[in-house]
Symmetry: C2
Subunit: 465 residues, 2 copies
Amino acid sequence: MTASVPADLDAYLTENNDRIHDELYEFLRIPSVSARSEHKVDTARAAEWVLQSLRKAGLTAETHATSGHPIVLGEWRTAGKGAPTVLIYGHYDVQPVEPLELWSSPPFEPTVRGGKIYARGAVDDKGQLFLHIKALEAHIATRGNLPVNIIFLAEGEEEVGSDNLAGFIEKHAKELRTDAVVISDSSMFAPGLPSLLFSLRGLAYFQVDVEGPKSDLHSGSYGGAVVNPAMALARMLATLHDADARVAIPRFYDKVREWGDVVRTQIRELPFSDSEFREETGSPALGGEKGYSTLERIWTRPTCEVNGLLSGYTGEGAKTVLPAKAMAKVSCRLVPDQDPEEIGRLMQAHLDSVAPKGVTVKVMHLHGGRPWKAEPAGPLFDAARAALSAAFGREPVLAGEGGSIPVVGDFERILGAPVLLMGFGLPGENAHAPDEWLSDENFVKGMRAIAVLWEEIGTRLGTGS
Amino acid sequence: MTASVPADLDAYLTENNDRIHDELYEFLRIPSVSARSEHKVDTARAAEWVLQSLRKAGLTAETHATSGHPIVLGEWRTAGKGAPTVLIYGHYDVQPVEPLELWSSPPFEPTVRGGKIYARGAVDDKGQLFLHIKALEAHIATRGNLPVNIIFLAEGEEEVGSDNLAGFIEKHAKELRTDAVVISDSSMFAPGLPSLLFSLRGLAYFQVDVEGPKSDLHSGSYGGAVVNPAMALARMLATLHDADARVAIPRFYDKVREWGDVVRTQIRELPFSDSEFREETGSPALGGEKGYSTLERIWTRPTCEVNGLLSGYTGEGAKTVLPAKAMAKVSCRLVPDQDPEEIGRLMQAHLDSVAPKGVTVKVMHLHGGRPWKAEPAGPLFDAARAALSAAFGREPVLAGEGGSIPVVGDFERILGAPVLLMGFGLPGENAHAPDEWLSDENFVKGMRAIAVLWEEIGTRLGTGS
């Protein structure tokens, strides 16, 4: 079953390697931070860039305005009778870049160091979206056609909750009808070890605002008699876990599906070292829910994390202030079959129940996404195995993913098509942190894997002409 | 014993009222924020302003450089044989002004609304320091002399811990020898109710830095297996109090002196309403240590407060980051006989003992000051009673103060002289918060009270000529 990369496609990608990289860098230079209103124009510019790139590859393409950032839709419909249709999904928006001072090179000036392409969006997801476009271009340029019909869908709101995507898919369900959805927005388990994902965690993200006095007070003149919102917040956050690092929100685990021994055994057999993982993060020691391994904690168990804290005086030196308010960003990673809306209600009820007298607590549910679990078998999975084997020279492993791609569930639910998650990131890639990078080797091999994937899907899912 | 304000002094202050106010506003316009390096020049400018103001009043004066902000020393040594000497202490530095957007008028543009002079430093302490200069000026201008010898000491580091003051007093103990120290840097118990302070709380201020991974991580790819520093910090802060809002640091209360029934009874007899106090702060409800009234909590009990929190993502919207670090500013108000250094050691030991594995915790002791307790009797106190009665038309009450003036203890210890704390602030004055104000009525009456005080001290403490 070990296919190889066809010589003509490989030659095309090799000959055009420098130009392809230059184009990628151009794409990465656009600061398409979807969360920030000051980058609205840049985000629109990134959409336009994707549009033109699809057209240059040979697809028809157009931009669809939404109430947020636009959706770009490209199409190739002439694969021939009996050819299957594949929807490719990716996103052209990126995470905010702060704290800027921790970047070794500017986030929007792609810089290659040690085989890594450093830039915000390099791996999440511009680089992976772009390699799909180049794989399509390789087919069309060398052969004049593709072995599959293609729907290429790129959105600009993945990092802010994909608010307009599900509605768009629902509205255009007929035009978007497809045999499979392919997404490259995830990581391989290790360098040289191509991976297919069988699970994703969902997300429920909250902002918690605690308010006390109407303005900051002198901590001497009022301290001891006025309830301190920062202290109240800390005490409330401390109730989110028990001593075994289990989430202590009542009924939080009610819908959590325990994974069977087969999956747990397979996870244990992956080449993984706690001490290397610890070293990669720089943490003094690992931690987490009692009774589970590191990979189980990340792939199969839900979490509750503080993502941000702000209250009172945070500058240089000392200011003896009793803060008027305190804010926390709190988010839960979810696993099947937890539901983000239900977790939102449980979080609200729990925080209400532990809020002390003397402060008011507001919980805003900022966004969420469902967890997902694949059936790792059948012709689509076989096609992916073959494609990855051809490009990387070895069989892929099955892996879980701790992050969330909320749209995966939407695609399955609305279009009724299976989703294939094959990503080319790597551990330590800093996807949402300073110094985000994409392995150049994975970028180059990823284009080839995807080029082979269209052949394999054409053969395995096609009904013949 | 109800003296009245001598007609000549009263007339002088009345005739010069507009000019005196203009001078005060000029002083308040100088942004002498001692905590901020960018205001170093402004702080020096405020020292120079005080120097010139003392000279204009008729005193000799000079500036003493320190390793921080300068100390201004003014003198009047010709009160005559047998006249007592009084040291006046005040500070010309002010608190930072953030958050700027909560000020109704710019912090360094004094604005009078409803009988209140709004500006940073209006009450803490520029306005109160300045009224002393004007009381001196009234005597010298109308009578050519003062009934007491004066040492006027103004520092510029009160808001950052008075690091250089104790050393200065020790070095110059001989020149600073005095019969009494008078400080106006506190508040009256209520409008129209002049007050003499019998206690101050001390302070021990810390910055707590919790560090985990070497950079911010994706909360999906790492969350659940890497210890979250923001959550660790919240859990540590939550251990600082028990369920009764008592500080839970082991041995924290060992040195706390319980106040006797006499003081507790007197405190209960003061005109005070919990509901008005609550309304003034805007808090939904009051709180604090079980078993004590609001005034007891503020005046007689120690506290532990969070003054600031910062970690991870704090901007608009959602960012799914597992923060690399988290910071809290934490301070304890202390009561006799707690010692700030000892409390620092107890805090360090406690935080070390509750720090979870997976993070490193650093505790910096930023600054501290001892608590203080006066003996409210004797000729100095009697002089103060008479002066306040003359200016305000009623006997002062004894009151405690929840804030800290660390130098009070230093003066008593080094100079061996009793300290008189008579301040002209009012509840709700926002001393360390936006919209700080000084009652104009108290400013005007305060100048008169201090002018009478020199007469009363001259009579009661002088040894005759």
